[in-house]
């Protein structure tokens, strides 16, 4: 398979296109999915007609409708335009999709649905209602799988896996990831759910991250290398189930752990990672765990100020250095 350079948004689009061609049960639902602000679903209706459905503003409603369609033979990919709006759809996702199969006694009841939660993260003054990173909210719910890719290759491969999964998958995306370019194989390949990836090997400290801020972590690792600290950087890719093995193996080697996420700290993904290591890998640690995450703030709706509470490369590097 030849790999071309393409953006994360293009890679997602390619995954959708290929899956729709492969399986006619795959449909797209969401607001403005025909033109699409994120370009991810743009023009797919020209190829797949009625299988791309522009829904009314009603995140709870069309997410619930997706559940109904999934139960009865379709495989909907539902777009929620920003992470922030998942709070409208939270019941449909975490009370209905997540629990439906179990509640009905298993068997033939299944909910093969993907919620593409688009446009996460703070940028350009998007602010507190269009700039949150809310993935942590959904890792708390058994019945769901939760994914958040950082790069085009994973975006395509994981979206394909998610679409083929017979369980509800909440697939988070980040607005600053969309333009990121990378090599993406043409044609079919998948990336498994539940597997993290070591993006950079190192022996001195483990940085566990994912999504957009993973790239900041990698930059921080480069800076740290100049100062003689070799950081191992892990991209979680899947947040539920999380790849405990990969994290523990790395911490066993490095003896130090820093987590980096864009969402707020309390009850964040980093809390879960830290807790796992404190439970299962405490003996490996020779220093406190550090969590790098958003400040205790509300995201300023200002292009000038909206990064002030969001961790930057330097914050990650500083957190690492405090461990030495």
């Amino acid at each position: 398979m030849a790999a071309r350079e393409m953006t994360y948004a293009e890679a997602l689009r390619e995954a959708l296109r290929e899956e729709m061609a492969r399986d006619e049960r795959v449909i797209i639902m969401g607001e403005d999915v025909k033109i699409n602000v994120w370009t991810v679903t743009r023009d797919l209706h020209k190829e797949f007609g009625d299988r791309v459905i522009n829904c009314p503003l009603s995140e709870s409603g069309f997410s619930g409708a997706g559940v109904g369609a999934a139960l009865t033979g379709m495989r909907p990919v539902v777009e929620i335009m920003y992470h922030d709006f998942t709070l409208y759809a939270a019941d449909s996702i975490a009370n209905q999709a997540a629990k439906y199969r179990y509640m009905c006694g298993g068997g033939d009841f299944k909910v093969p649905i993907v919620f593409r939660v688009a446009g996460g993260g703070s940028s350009g003054g998007s602010g507190c209602h269009h700039g949150q990173s809310l993935e942590a909210t959904f890792i708390h719910f058994p019945g769901l799988k939760v994914i958040f890719p950082s790069n085009p290759y994973d975006a395509k491969g994981l979206l394909k896996t998610a679409i083929r999964d017979n369980n509800p998958v909440v697939f988070f995306e980040h607005k600053l990831c969309y333009p990121i370019k990378g090599a993406v194989p043409a044609g079919d390949y998948t990336v498994p759910i539940g597997k993290a990836e070591v993006k950079r090997e190192g022996k001195d400290v483990t940085i566990v991250s994912y999504a957009y801020i993973l790239h900041k972590a990698l930059k921080a690792a480069d800076q740290l290398a100049e100062e003689g600290i070799e950081a191992e950087v892990i991209d979680l890719r899947t947040l539920r189930p999380v790849d405990t093995e990969c994290i523990l193996k790395s911490v066993q080697k490095t003896s130090k752990l820093v987590t980096a996420e864009e969402g707020t700290k309390m009850g964040g993904v980093g809390a879960e990672i830290a807790a796992i290591v404190a439970e299962e890998g405490l003996q490996y640690l020779d220093a406190p765990i550090k969590r790098v995450a958003a400040a205790e703030w509300i995201i300023a709706s200002s292009a000038y100020a909206d990064q002030m509470g969001i961790p930057q490369v330097e914050d990650i590097a500083r957190a690492v250095k405090e461990l030495f």
């Binding site: 009625d50 109904g68 019941d91 509640m103 009905c104 006694g105």
Partner: protein, 323 residues
């Protein structure tokens, strides 16, 4: 509308009796200390039973919390139903769903505990039917109280925009839990809200099974022929309280006279009298049905009580679909 066939009418009658006897049985079980959350349908048997009788076997039902008429009407064996309510492994949800009754083969799509959550789900089932070019219909029930939830608005709008084959039936029994609906609901007739979605809204006597059957049949035909959803409002009343918790709590939030007044409109009695009046059935025939049904429910009780509980392993299974 052609006259309803005898078979259909007798099926409706016997299912209404089945529902009533089942409901009474569950109340007795609750009194005996078995924990089942039942929202009694006493007084509301007509619409659920008649409307489900108007469905084809492949049609879907999207149930709600009030009673079990949609399950019995759709053909669920009281044995299986009661077993599920008692948490037994022989129940339709393997003892895990409890009140959240579902049955894949009977196309009972699961009864969420979150009010109105199922309404958009029903719209989605309708969408899926259309996309698969199937000819089925979904019957979706909800109460007057739930009609104020945002999901009802979103779900009805979606179904209407998609011209999905969904029939919405709102059973307006005047109360939501302990609150009379005038305190919380800005319209007297929920059916008026249909206009906000460009779909027909019909009001029927919810205690008249024949009216219920006819209205449902018409709406189902309409849906099946691609003309989209209908909202039917069935005016009715729950004779018992919200759950067993306030079963006879008549004085607190509703006047005894009101209950007495509605007792007189008993839908089971009404249908029975009507059947005899139009000479569809004799008292003897109907008594026989009553008697058989009682025996059936006794057997169901025996079956459910003797059924084993699921194992812990079974209980923890099926969080994810492994296939």
């Amino acid at each position: 509308m052609p006259a309803i066939e005898k078979d259909t009418l007798l099926k409706i009658y016997s299912n209404m009796v089945r529902l009533r006897v089942f409901d009474d049985k569950v109340n007795l079980l609750v009194e005996s200390g078995i924990r089942i959350t039942q929202h009694s349908t006493r007084g509301q048997e007509a619409t659920q039973i008649a409307a489900t009788a108007a469905l084809e076997p492949n049609d879907y039902v999207m149930p709600y919390h009030r009673g079990w008429g949609w399950a019995i009407g759709k053909g669920m064996d009281p044995k299986i139903l009661l077993s599920e309510l008692m948490g037994k492994g022989t129940g339709c949800c393997a003892g895990k769903g409890g009140v959240h009754i579902a049955d894949w083969k009977l196309r009972i799509m699961g009864r969420p505990g979150v009010q109105a959550a199922h309404v958009p789900i029903a719209a989605g089932v309708g969408l899926s039917i259309k996309m698969r070019k199937a000819k089925d219909v979904v019957l979706c029930f909800f109460g007057d109280g739930a009609s104020n939830e945002g999901n009802i608005h979103e779900g009805m709008n979606l179904a209407a925009v998609w011209k999905a084959p969904v029939v919405f039936i709102c059973e307006n029994n005047l109360y939501a839990l302990f609150t009379p609906n005038i305190e919380t609901t800005s319209v007297q007739d929920i059916a008026d809200r249909a206009q906000g979605y460009g779909i027909p809204g019909a009001i029927i006597d919810g205690n008249d099974a024949i009216a219920g059957y006819e209205a449902a049949k018409e709406a189902i035909n309409r849906a099946r022929s691609g003309q989209g959803p209908t909202l039917i409002e069935a005016k009715t009343y729950r004779i018992h309280g919200h759950t067993a918790m306030d079963r006879f709590h008549l004085g607190g939030y509703r006047p005894k006279e009101e209950v007495d007044e509605w007792e007189k409109k008993d839908p089971v009695k009404k249908l029975r009298e009507r059947l005899m009046e139009i000479r569809m059935a004799t008292a003897q025939e109907l008594d026989e049905i009553d008697q058989k049904t009682k025996e059936e429910i006794e057997e169901a009780e025996k079956f459910a009580k003797e059924s084993p509980y699921p194992t812990r392993e079974d209980i923890l299974r099926d969080v994810y679909c492994e296939a």
